[in-house]
Every structure is written in structure tokens, then in C-alpha cells.
């Protein structure tokens, strides 16, 4: 029998439709329907200046909003053949890692909620609030920060703010291990998460899984290793595991948070003085840039005529990860709650995913409605 879940369902945070093919309690396979939050951002961006484009790119996704603006700015910097000032690069790393911590914490909290473990769900949110404070202290906003511009960041940071962020990180680090241990060695949590939703390395390669999902299946691939700022200035370890189950994906995120705290400490200790923004003259041309978002690899491909954006294409990590989940993880799962937990462990971000719309050639329904609206 086909069991439809969504688009609005107690187990789902965002609108998506999961069709689970079940026999008895067992889930045999799954199919996922998209399209509930497609807004047409790329189409809106065409013919706009980068100042408007960067504002729109931030609203691709609310959870990983920061990395979209950074990638957008770095694409334009690549077209111009320049780099942001070194202090701005350090500040970008600082914000990126803070954003990664809060994103991973909310991803894990969603997973615990899907496993019906309210205690850890609330603990994760409890850990996340000080990190949101740090982001607000640095950029002035909690979610959509408006912090990046082409050629640097918008404003400089005071030493007192950096000291406060350092203190928040110290507090987080001292509390953190207690909560990780609850999950790492919890016998019941282990029973529900180990060997559930398993994806092998070969399957991960076939599905093009990226980010913590790919790394938990043994794909040691982190674009931060190749990014010039990280490469030249910082020391960090790429976290990866071999198991490829729900437990590995969640633990992978937990361990990455530890690395992010390490990186933030390095930034605050070594941040050089200087400018945070410089003027960049943008020539006509095409450029693409890839960055490691909290969920994996995000790519921007932009074509500009020197002033306006001619064409833009955004590829976000959740597209590959959700497909990997539907095809390789949600097969022969023991129960429906396990299938929901597996889906949550992938950390799906639907607002990111909805990047294109496919129009049925026969009906042309969507096109017609579009035309009516314009009239």
C-alpha cells in the first residue's frame, strides 16, 4: 500500500510529500514530490544589479542563508579576478562557522524530534540560542544577516564583540560533550539509529551525496580544504565516518561542530588588522564558485555584463541528498517511524531544493497561469 505523508504532517518541518510504499509495517521504497516552495528566485535575479542579487540570494534558504551570500560575492570576485581583504576573509570564516554550528544543531534537534526524543531535541535548541546570540552580536541579525558584499563584508567588528564570541564558544565547548555523550553511548538511541537507513559508499557516489550525508558514508570530501582562506590560514580536520547510517550522520554533525569551534578560536586569535571592504570593478564575464555549506556543496554560476546579472544558476546540496535518501536509504526500512527518522537525518532543506520547475508538455498548465497573472 502507498502511505502518503505531507505536505503538512506532524513529522515534517517543511512542505514536501513523501510517498512510502509499505507492506505491513515495513517500508519497501519511497518517492518524493517537490514543488511546494518554488518561488523562481533565479528568474527574478536576472536583469538586476548585484546589490539586489545578493539580497535575493540570502533568501534562497533561511537556515544556511549566510553561505549563499558568501558564494554569490566570491563568484563576482572571481569574475573580477580579485579577492576580498584578508580581514574580511577571516570575518567570513568566523560567520560561516557560526552559521554551520547553528545549522548542525538544528539539524540534529530535528532528527531527535523525529525519533521522539524530546529531551535531546530541547537540549540541542538550548545549545543553539547562545550561538544565535553570537551571530546577532557580529552581524546585527539572527537569520538573514545581510553581512556580505562583493569585495568584503559590510562592517568591521570590535575586539569586545570578538571576546564575547570567544566566551560563548568556551561555554558551548564545556557543556557540549555532556549532550553528545547522551547520544553517543545511549543504548536506546543507539538501537533506533544504528544500522537504520544505511547507505554504502558506492551508493553515495552513485547518488552524488555531499556534505555530512556523503562524509558519513565514507566520501572524504570537504570543499573547505580547497578554499583559499581555509587552505592558507587555518588548521582543521575533515570529519568522516564509514558506517553510513543515521547514527553516523548525526555523529558526523556533532564532530564537525567541534571542528567549527576550533576554527572560530583560530580566527579570533589570529585575525589581522586592516580594511574589511574594497571597491571592485566588475567586468563582463562568466564565473562559478563552489563552497561548503552546512549541508554540502553549493554552486553559483553567474553570467554578468559588468553591471546587471544576465543569468544565474544555483545548485544546492539538498537536491542530491534528498534524492540519495529516497533512492538508497528508504528501502527495506523496518517501520514507518524509522523511515521518518531516516528522512530527518539527511537534514533536508526544502527551501534550498526548489530551484527549477518542470512543466508538463501536454498540459502547459503552469505556463498558462503564469501568462494570466502577467495580464
Amino acid at each position: 500500500m502507498i502511505l502518503p505523508l505531507g505536505p503538512i504532517h506532524p513529522g515534517l518541518k517543511e512542505p514536501i510529500r513523501l510517498k512510502l510504499k509499505t507492506r505491513g509495517e515495513k517500508v519497501l521504497s519511497a518517492e518524493i514530490d517537490y514543488g511546494y516552495v518554488h518561488r523562481g528566485i533565479e528568474r527574478v535575479m536576472e536583469g538586476k544589479t548585484w546589490q539586489k542579487g545578493i539580497y535575493l540570494s540570502e533568501r534562497v534558504c533561511g537556515i544556511c542563508s549566510y553561505i549563499h551570500t558568501q558564494t554569490f560575492a566570491e563568484t563576482f570576485e572571481k569574475i573580477a579576478g580579485e579577492r576580498a581583504p584578508i580581514r574580511a576573509q577571516f570575518l567570513r570564516v568566523l560567520t560561516n562557522e557560526l552559521d554551520r554550528i547553528q545549522s548542525h544543531l538544528i539539524a540534529n534537534s530535528t532528527f531527535f524530534k523525529a525519533m521522539e526524543h524530546e529531551t535531546l531535541f530541547v537540549y540541542m535548541l538550548h545549545l543553539r540560542e547562545p550561538v544565535m546570540d553570537a551571530i546577532e552580536l557580529l552581524t546585527g541579525n539572527r537569520v538573514n544577516m545581510g553581512w556580505n558584499v562583493v569585495g568584503g563584508v559590510k562592517m568591521d567588528v570590535n575586539q569586545s564583540h570578538l571576546d564575547s564570541i570567544m566566551k560563548i564558544m568556551m561555554d558551548l565547548e564545556s557543556e557540549y560533550d555532556k549532550y553528545v555523550e547522551m547520544f553517543e553511548h545511549g543504548p536506546l538511541l543507539g538501537l533506533r539509529s544504528r544500522d537504520v537507513g544505511k547507505m554504502t559508499r558506492d551508493d553515495a557516489i552513485k547518488a552524488r551525496a555531499v556534505g555530512p550525508v556523503g562524509r558519513a558514508s565514507g566520501l572524504k570530501h570537504d570543499l573547505r580544504e580547497k578554499h583559499h582562506t581555509y587552505h592558507d590560514n587555518f588548521d582543521f580536520k575533515v570529519i568522516w565516518r564509514k558506517e553510513g547510517d543515521n547514527y553516523a550522520r548525526t555523529m558526523n554533525r556533532f564532530d564537525e561542530i567541534t571542528q567549527s569551534i576550533r576554527l572560530i578560536k583560530q580566527v579570533i586569535e589570529n585575525i589581522p588588522p586592516g580594511e574589511v571592504r574594497k571597491k571592485i570593478n566588475i567586468p563582463a564575464g562568466y564565473g562559478d564558485w563552489r563552497n561548503e555549506a552546512p549541508r554540502g556543496e553549493v554552486t553559483y554560476m553567474i553570467e554578468t555584463n559588468g553591471n546587471l546579472i544576465n543569468n544565474v544558476s544555483i545548485r544546492t546540496p539538498s537536491i542530491m541528498n534528498i534524492d540519495a535518501c529516497a533512492k538508497y536509504m528508504l528501502k527495506d526500512v523496518a517501520t514507518v517511524p524509522d523511515a521518518l527518522a531516516t528522512y530527518a537525518s539527511v537534514d533536508p532543506c526544502i527551501a534550498c531544493t526548489e530551484r527549477s520547475v518542470i512543466i508538463d508538455d501536454e498540459s502547459q498548465e503552469l505556463l498558462e497561469r503564469q501568462n494570466k497573472k502577467e495580464e
Binding site: 513529522g11 523562481g40 497561469r369
Partner: protein, 149 residues
């Protein structure tokens, strides 16, 4: 007597359903942040359940996209009376940046379902969302419940 009892129950146990009709997720995670110990939504008797069939308050975030134009009304009709709708963020009010030429967005939400309270902001702070739900929620639900159909 019975009405007074119903009032008390309606005011003190509010189930919330969150519908993202095509936003950027920012408002959704601010609602999730409300569940954290700092804001602690559940101390006011509010429970975020995401089930429209038992919802008293429907939170709408996001401009209305193509898929939601009919589904939003269907979900609204599934929620039992009395119910109120709170629109969170700029998207349900005006479409925000998405409401431009070429996009597939049909804001505002009030064209499709009646909206009782609006919270502007991109996204609004969790404390503002909490204040709005508490400000309009319990009394409006009780008042609507007393109306004869």
C-alpha cells in the same frame, strides 16, 4: 456554565499548525526557536503540533506558491472551528522580494484565507512571534467559540 468552562479550556490549550507556503525557511526556524528553553512556548499551553485537523492557531509563513493556491484553502477548511490565522513575516503580507515580475508567487495570503494577525519582519524575532500569538490567540479563540454558527 458550559460556555465559561469551554472558554477556560480554549484559552489554556492551544494547538498550533505551521504552514510554509513558500518562504525561505527563516520564519519557520524562528518558530522552532520558540520551543527552546529560553522562550519556552509550552509554558503558555501552546503546543506546536503541525496537524491541521486539531489546530486552533494556523501560522502561515511564506508567499503563496503555485502548488499552495488550492491546497491552502483545503488545509484551512480541515482545521476545526474556532480557529485563527497568524501570518508571520513579510512574505504572507506582501510577497516580500519574491513578489516581482517573473516569479511564481501569489501573495498576499489574505486573498486565499482570512488572516487575523500579521507580524511583519524578515524574519520577525521569536519574542515578537510569541507576543503576537499570545496577544491574539487565547481571547480571539474564546470569542470565536462563543459565536453562534
Amino acid at each position: 456554565m458550559l460556555d465559561a468552562l469551554k472558554d477556560v479550556i480554549r484559552k489554556s490549550s492551544i494547538h498550533v499548525c505551521l504552514i510554509n507556503t513558500g518562504g525561505c525557511n527563516g520564519c519557520d526556524i524562528e518558530v522552532v526557536a520558540l520551543l527552546s528553553p529560553r522562550y519556552d512556548l509550552e509554558q503558555y499551553g501552546i503546543y506546536v503540533h503541525n496537524n491541521p485537523r486539531e489546530a486552533d492557531v494556523i501560522l502561515v509563513t511564506g508567499a503563496v506558491t503555485e502548488q499552495w493556491r488550492e491546497k491552502l484553502q483545503r488545509i484551512y477548511s480541515k482545521a476545526p472551528e474556532p480557529k485563527i490565522v497568524v501570518a508571520i513575516g513579510n512574505c504572507p503580507l506582501s510577497g516580500d522580494v519574491f513578489n516581482q515580475e517573473g516569479s511564481s508567487v501569489y501573495a498576499p495570503v489574505s486573498d486565499f484565507i482570512p488572516v487575523d494577525a500579521e507580524i511583519p519582519g524578515c524574519p520577525p524575532r521569536p519574542s515578537e512571534i510569541l507576543a503576537a500569538i499570545l496577544g491574539v490567540g487565547p481571547d480571539a479563540i474564546a470569542a470565536k467559540g462563543r459565536q453562534k454558527p
